[in-house]
């Protein structure tokens, strides 16, 4: 730990580490409480979570020790490796209705976890390079393609929540590098076009706005025409394709877009989650005092729905505490990203923070019944080795960047 001793001081962000550690500790306690039910399969899971957290802390320290220029140097190989694993996982047997896991004996590896990190590195590298020079290809087309490949591979697993994470990484990095807002609007326009297709007037309205934006910002014709055509194509193809499908095919697509934890039972899960949290009140029922976990809530009460156990037992003050810890973690992280001189490092930090922030919002929003059910775990807290270790390793990378924030 000599390197740590040498570098501690102002550049080592102990508060960032403390927030992550407290959240992990809270996670172990919550897993312990959530598994106090008559289910032999769940006994002792908190101990395994403890092991995952310790392994995650080791990963955090290791990652912090690695100078960020290694990440930059290995961005392409790492990215290609993770794409290969994402393709491989599609050919492996289905596990719990999806192709998400690779079984490597003691551990279920989710290649999408690696892919998220690799995509962060590569997007940061490309954006850092394209900062000054850079035509449309270097600035937009290549980063979009780099994002789309893992996004689509994860989408067919199917895993909508994780797949959206890639879009969020992209937006976070592209925003942070200083891309003009109008360019971000143009990048998002095909996605908006697809959403606007719900009715003819909204779509026409959208196209009018797009054309107006072209005129106002004086977009060059060689950029405006392909983009406009692409948006038109998406807007006109989507409904035609949709009408062409049979009922059961549509149903399949709708299920695919929102598979949920359990497509037939997700309403029940969300209701149980809301009852658990709502019945917690101001102060909660006390640690280990929750009653809703005993109901038919499995198998998600210690994984994706862990937040409802916290809400039930610790009440509104507990929720406030958890949200404050997350807020603190993100705030310290943004400070690191802001102060970091190296462009790649700063963009990497922001990519990771966007990812963590998005997962927090998606998961808690789901347990509170505000957002649809997607299988996204709560960072640091939900039971599961893959999630905990990756999250802590990512924090290690941010810490490492913080340690070297004045290096170019």
């Amino acid at each position: 730990m000599a390197w740590l001793a040498m570098r501690t001081g102002r550049d080592f962000d102990a508060q960032f580490l403390l927030a992550a550690a407290l959240l992990s500790l809270l996670g172990i306690m919550a897993v312990y409480s959530a598994t106090q039910v008559d289910q032999p399969a769940l006994v002792g899971l908190w101990l395994r979570q403890l092991v995952w957290v310790l392994a995650g802390m080791a990963a955090l320290l290791t990652m912090a020790a690695v100078p960020f220029r290694y990440w930059e140097a290995f961005a392409w190989p790492l990215y290609l490796l993770s794409l290969g694993l994402l393709v491989l996982v599609l050919f492996l047997p289905v596990h719990m209705r999806t192709h998400r896991w690779i079984d490597i004996g003691f551990f279920q590896l989710q290649p999408s976890e690696l892919a998220k990190l690799a995509t962060v590195f590569l997007l940061a590298k490309l954006s850092a390079q394209a900062h000054k020079e850079g035509g449309v290809f270097r600035r937009f087309v290549l980063p979009l393609a780099v994002t789309a490949a893992p996004l689509l591979l994860v989408l067919v697993e199917p895993d909508l929540g994780t797949s959206l994470s890639f879009a969020v990484i992209f937006l976070g990095i592209v925003f942070w590098r200083g891309t003009p807002l109008r360019d971000i609007f143009f990048i998002l326009s095909p996605a908006l076009s697809m959403l606007a297709v719900v009715s003819m007037p909204t779509w026409i309205g959208f196209m009018v706005i797009l054309l107006a934006a072209f005129l106002v910002f004086r977009v060059k014709p060689q950029h405006a025409i392909p983009l406009g055509l692409f948006n038109t194509a998406i807007g006109s193809a989507a409904p035609a394709l949709w009408d062409h499908l049979k009922d059961y095919q549509r149903k399949r697509i709708l299920n695919f877009v929102n598979p949920g934890v359990d497509p037939r039972g997700s309403g029940w899960h969300v209701l149980q989650s809301k009852i658990a949290i709502g019945s917690g009140g101001w102060l909660g029922k006390g640690y280990l005092g929750g009653t809703q976990k005993k109901l038919s809530f499995l198998p998600a009460q210690h994984t994706d729905f862990i937040f409802s156990t916290i809400g039930e037992e610790l009440g509104l003050w507990g929720i406030t505490l958890v949200l404050a810890l997350y807020g603190w973690l993100l705030y310290r992280g943004v400070l690191i990203a802001r102060q970091t001189r190296n462009r790649f490092a700063s963009l990497t930090a922001m990519g990771i923070l966007s990812l963590i922030g998005f997962n927090i919002f998606l998961n808690i929003g789901m347990t509170l019944g505000m957002l649809p059910v997607t299988g996204i775990p709560l960072p640091f807290v939900s039971y599961g080795g893959s999630s905990v270790i990756t999250m802590l390793a990512m924090c290690g990378i941010v810490l490492g960047i913080g340690l070297r924030r004045y290096e170019y």
Partner: protein, 602 residues
């Protein structure tokens, strides 16, 4: 326009976005935990929120000619949903319906011990007058509800009962096996024939909805905007069965007559009719069969619940002679016009026993063709001795006997084709010697076949040696129009040369159409019917009467096997029934030979 990484404005924007997002979550938490605390608190108290299941109707079973054979109907059950304070309402319900209240209370306590939290069904399938009375007084019965379940209805009663089978409530043993597949104790499950075979297809998936109850167990409606999950009906089974043929075939059996009919389309293996007599009414199982009715059915000496068409194996009698003849032709022991050393004098000594022909006065000298036409036993005894037990067994197995046909029905009997090893094992060393091979050649002794196996074999001979695996399912289709199961189209070739098949067909045509042939009763004017009669010796009583055949002789449209138990000679009873079945089918479908059916459905 800045291109600076992490500018002051952008930092501010990111922090603002996250603050707003976290505050939104906090406000939502406060809404649930402070503003709506009361309602969630009361919902969290045990037993306030109930989930009731919406029964999915079981899929239809439809014949090839679009007749709905089995469908679902609603059944109304009186159900106790309240976990506590149930004694008084259960007693009042018993009074209201004129039942023994002590017995009813006992039933409830028993089930509460097994499944403490589950609702208890007090009375299943309330008849309309009782249902009206219950609905009228439901307010006075807190904790009780009338729930709808989906019950099975066989539209033609006993007709085709062995084909469709029946459904019944899942028992304790079955429940243990099925609970991981979404079944609950008391759910209906297919218990025989198609209902069992295609259980996964016919069973839909139940939906559910929620309602809230007050402290006294009274319904307070559906909580907030909790959408019910609709039940998904089971898929429709489209069968290859020709319902008019099925009905016609069943009508040819006299009441009290036992037996079976299997009719197959030779060019596809599609089963056109599958009859087993006597039959039963699946509807008596619909909402649970009464013990006395069950005992009567199960104890009936005629075994009405037993599907003779696929589960009974009989000695094939002379219908087996096609196997012996095919073996002799293939091994070049004989041609269609070969004579045996001994002419038929009515009996033939083999070893220290005398074997008799069914015709006491004897057939005189005849060749293989005539021996088949007149079903001469003496001729085939000699052929059997030349072939011995093992080679006959070998050929019988190659022709698809002695193993299940692979039909899409459960519990099919494999039949029995004994060989030397089998005899050694069951009857001791050398027990296959002597006249066993002779007896086997005329389908007596230990050889056993099911009516389905025999129909399949004769269909394959009619189809010039191509044996299609018999099957009932044409397709299974969901309500959305998705085809989830397709027709099974698998074929095999009989290991017979075209010349052998042609000779067999010529002999079988002779049986029905030549002067003095035993199958004359199956003759149809203007059609070349081919087939073989058989008389299976029955140690327990009168012989069983067999006929198996197909028509027309070239590119047959139908093959049929008929057995009538204890009815005597095949030529007298089974042959005319088979003739009428084929005639009615051919008359409806035109007499012209049908082209082989297209390769795959759709």
């Amino acid at each position: 326009m800045t291109q600076e990484i992490g500018s002051r404005e952008r930092t501010f924007f990111v922090l603002l976005l996250w603050t707003v997002a976290l505050l939104l979550l906090l406000l939502r938490g406060a809404q649930l935990q402070v503003l709506q605390y009361g309602r969630y608190h009361s919902l969290s108290q045990q037993n306030r929120l109930r989930k009731i299941d919406l029964a999915a109707p079981r899929g239809l079973i439809i014949s090839q000619d679009s007749v709905i054979i089995a469908e679902s109907r609603p059944g109304f059950d009186l159900v106790l949903v309240s976990a506590t304070d149930w004694q008084a309402p259960v007693r009042s319900a018993a009074r209201l319906l004129g039942l023994d209240s002590l017995a009813l209370v006992a039933v409830v306590s028993t089930q509460r011990q097994l499944f403490p939290k589950d609702p208890v069904v007090l009375i299943k399938d309330l008849p309309p007058p009782l249902l009206a009375r219950v609905e009228e007084h439901l307010d006075e019965l807190p904790g009780l509800r009338v729930e709808i379940e989906s019950l099975r209805k066989a539209n033609f009663g006993t007709l085709g009962s062995h084909l469709i089978g029946y459904t019944g409530q899942i028992g304790l043993d079955e429940y243990a096996k099925h609970k991981d597949f979404g079944y609950r104790y008391g759910d209906y499950i297919g218990k025989g024939s198609l209902e069992r075979q295609y259980e996964n297809v016919l069973r839909g998936s139940d939906g559910y909805e929620f309602f809230e109850v007050d402290a006294r167990g009274r319904d307070r409606g559906t909580p907030e905007a909790l959408e019910p999950v609709e039940a998904v009906p089971g898929a429709t089974l489209r069968l290859s069965i020709d319902w008019r043929l099925q009905a016609a075939a069943e009508s040819l059996f006299a009441p009290g007559q036992s037996g079976a009919v299997v009719a197959i389309e030779p060019g596809s293996g599609r089963i056109l009719a599958l009859v087993s007599r006597p039959n039963f009414d699946p509807n008596i199982f619909a909402s649970g069969i009464r013990a006395d009715v069950w005992n009567a059915l199960a104890g009936d000496p005629d075994y009405p619940l037993w599907d003779r068409a696929i589960r009974s194996a009989y000695p094939p009698g002379s219908t087996f002679k096609v196997v012996t003849a095919a073996a002799a032709l293939e091994e070049t022991l004989a041609t269609e016009h070969t004579y045996m050393p001994h002419p038929c004098l009515g009996k033939l000594p083999i070893g220290n026993r005398v074997y008799k022909c069914w015709l006491k006065e004897g057939h005189g000298a005849l060749d293989l063709h005539q021996a088949m036409v007149h079903s001469c036993d003496i001729y085939f005894y000699q052929l059997g001795m030349m072939l011995n037990v093992d080679r006959q067994a070998q050929w019988a197995r190659r022709m698809g006997l002695g193993k299940p046909s692979g039909v899409d029905l459960p519990l099919e009997h494999a039949g029995l084709i004994p060989d030397k090893d089998w005899y050694e094992k069951h009857f001791g060393r050398g027990s296959w010697r002597g006249g066993v091979a002779a007896n086997m050649a005329i389908g007596q002794g230990e050889v056993l076949v099911t009516p389905l196996q025999l129909a399949t074999l004769y269909a394959a001979i009619g189809n010039d040696g191509v044996l299609w695996r018999p099957h009932l399912l044409l397709r299974a289709e969901t309500a959305d129009g998705e085809v989830i199961r397709r027709e099974m189209r698998v074929f095999d070739r009989l290991p017979l040369s075209p010349a052998t098949v042609a000779a067999l067909k010529s002999m079988l045509w002779g049986v029905v159409n030549e002067e003095g042939g035993t199958g004359g009763a199956a003759r149809i004017a203007g059609i070349d019917v081919a087939g073989k009669t058989g008389t299976a010796q029955n140690p327990h009583g009168k012989d069983h009467s067999w006929f198996a055949g197909f028509a027309p002789r070239e590119r047959p449209a139908i093959a049929v096997a008929v057995i009538v138990e204890n009815a005597g000679h095949g030529s007298d009873v089974a042959a005319p029934i088979a003739g009428q079945i084929m005639a009615s089918y051919l008359a409806r479908h035109g007499l012209t030979p049908r082209p082989p059916t297209a390769v795959a459905e759709e």
